[in-house]
């Protein structure tokens, strides 16, 4: 539960969403990621750290460079959290449909 809340906070930030979008296209080094933003290297590095802590990004060492990869499994977890909400409405609407198919107008 604690970890999940962090994931939601992670994607709530527009810069972090932009980082995810970049890295989802191809694995990148921290400096290559930072080049895409006006913010300081430190700011971007902090964002990358948060994304890594919630497992949205994964590190991989290639020689002397660290590359960041996107972790689609974690993203799916986020998509899945809407599912209970959708189910709640689907159950209500199924009831509605069943009731109205038998509905007799009063009067």
């Amino acid at each position: 539960m604690e970890l999940r809340r962090d994931v939601f906070q992670a994607i709530a930030d527009p810069t972090r969403r932009a980082i995810i979008a970049l890295v989802a296209m191809q694995a990148m080094t921290p400096s290559a990621i930072a080049e895409n933003f006006d913010s300081s290297r430190q700011t971007i590095s902090k964002h990358i750290q948060i994304l890594t802590e919630c497992e949205l990004l994964k590190q991989e060492q290639h020689g002397r460079e660290i590359y960041y990869h996107f972790n689609p499994k974690k993203m799916k977890e986020i998509a899945d959290f809407i599912e209970p909400y959708r189910n709640m409405w689907e159950e209500r609407f199924q009831k509605l449909e069943a009731i109205m198919k038998k509905y007799k107008p009063k009067k």
């Binding site: 994607i11 689907e90 009731i99 509905y103």
Partner: protein, 154 residues
């Protein structure tokens, strides 16, 4: 199973769009929102008040089997056009704040219809809290169930 109900919650947005197609004429679909007895049945809540008119109010209340009120919601109706649309506010009486709802009813054929609900929240954060409610509730339920099983083991 076919996923009839669709929920769209864009990243960083502050609204939720719910769409559903029904094997019902649009008049019957609308009736399900108009008739308090029917609303009570499919929403699973008691309908205390439902004034289907401009500036009308409505109020829902749900009790647990012991009779304790567990859920209370209310709102004001801004527009009520039979078989077409309802515009209303909705607020749960637990401090979540009000949301604005646009309900559009549309005939697809003589026997089928479509409902589109757009709910607008005060902020992106408020919307996400709302979305997470059934999710968090599901987790709580699982947790309670687990506790129940564990307590029986002792």
């Amino acid at each position: 199973m076919e996923r009839k109900t669709q929920v769209t919650a864009g990243n960083g947005q502050q609204d939720i769009i719910i769409t559903r197609e029904f094997e019902l004429p649009v008049a019957l679909l609308f009736k399900a929102y108009e008739d308090p007895e029917v609303v009570a049945q499919w929403m699973g809540t008691k309908v205390i008040k439902l004034e289907n008119k401009k500036h009308g109010g409505y109020q829902f209340e749900t009790s647990d089997p012991q009779g304790n009120v567990v859920f209370r919601a209310n709102g004001v109706i801004h527009s009520f056009v039979p078989d077409k649309n309802i515009t209303r506010t909705f607020e749960m009486e637990n401090g979540f704040g009000a949301q604005l709802e646009f309900l559009d009813f549309e005939a697809l054929t003589d026997d089928t219809s479509k409902l589109t609900i757009q709910s607008i929240y005060r902020s992106n954060a408020a919307r996400d809290e709302q979305l997470k409610l059934p999710f968090a509730f599901g987790l709580n339920m699982a947790h309670n169930r687990l506790q129940e099983i564990v307590s029986k083991l002792k």
